[in-house]
Assembly symmetry: C2
């Protein structure tokens, strides 16, 4: 029986995956925002640094997808990150209208102070959950992202 044939009362709020995921990420992101404030960063800035530490020179539109941030919000964050010397924006050599973003060495250093907070927040999420269950969970998330995403990244 699919979801539409059963009601929410039959399924139960705490068995409805989007409810659980919104609850978990709402709390995770609020806690992360508080920790970031102590480091002088905002969520869009921190996400941009994290993505740029592992993705080489994305277009601004790609970075908006990776960071789940509105492009206008991201652009403001990038202006500030560039002023602080943490990223560079460069015209795409193959398309003069497109801008690519790269992280600087200083940006990598700031990300290194940020990463332990991200890693320990993830560890708290998975507290008491065995490694094989954790891996199965991430594998399901990867399938869900392919199901739901609109972009090829």
């Amino acid at each position: 029986m699919d979801g539409a044939a059963r009601g929410l009362a039959d399924i139960g709020l705490t068995n409805f995956a989007p409810y659980l995921m919104n609850r978990i990420m709402g709390r995770y992101n609020a806690g992360f925002r508080e920790e970031l404030a102590g480091l002088g960063l905002t969520t869009p800035k921190a996400r941009a640094l994290a993505v740029l530490s592992v993705v080489d020179a994305p277009l601004i539109g790609e970075l908006a997808v990776y960071t789940v941030t509105e492009q206008s919000t991201l652009s403001r964050a990038l202006v500030q990150l560039q002023t602080d010397g943490l990223i560079r924006r460069q015209t795409d050599p193959d398309d003069s209208r497109a801008t690519r973003v790269t992280i600087t060495e200083t940006g990598r250093e700031v990300f290194q102070t940020l990463w332990p907070h991200m890693a320990s927040a993830e560890d708290r999420m998975f507290k008491g959950i065995p490694e094989d269950e954790r891996q199965a969970f991430v594998a399901t998330l990867q399938k869900m992202l392919v199901n739901i995403r609109k972009h090829e990244i």
Copy 2:
């Protein structure tokens, strides 16, 4: 080896659960918001109706936790839902300073038009994912919510 000892480059962005969950819920919530606009609803209103259809007479603060909505935003949504006759706000019989919220019959009818959209969005998320994997995934989410939540609900 725990997360802090490994770097994000070692783990990989697409193995980092909070990244995947933010990507998935960002897309899910954006799609849901578009569907709701067609029904004349906003996300806080829709979440409030969904929770009230299965949770009996929560306090406003409890409803804010369930709906992952700032209390000020939720309060505005509740004023509008009450004006439209979809919910009632009543003083708690045991605490004259506290307000409890209940759904009306009209509210339940509106939720019935909303629910198929929620159910099919969840089904799209789990497309191609076997039922046992889906159940294991939800069980892990339930453990994560207990790990991360600040409230007993």
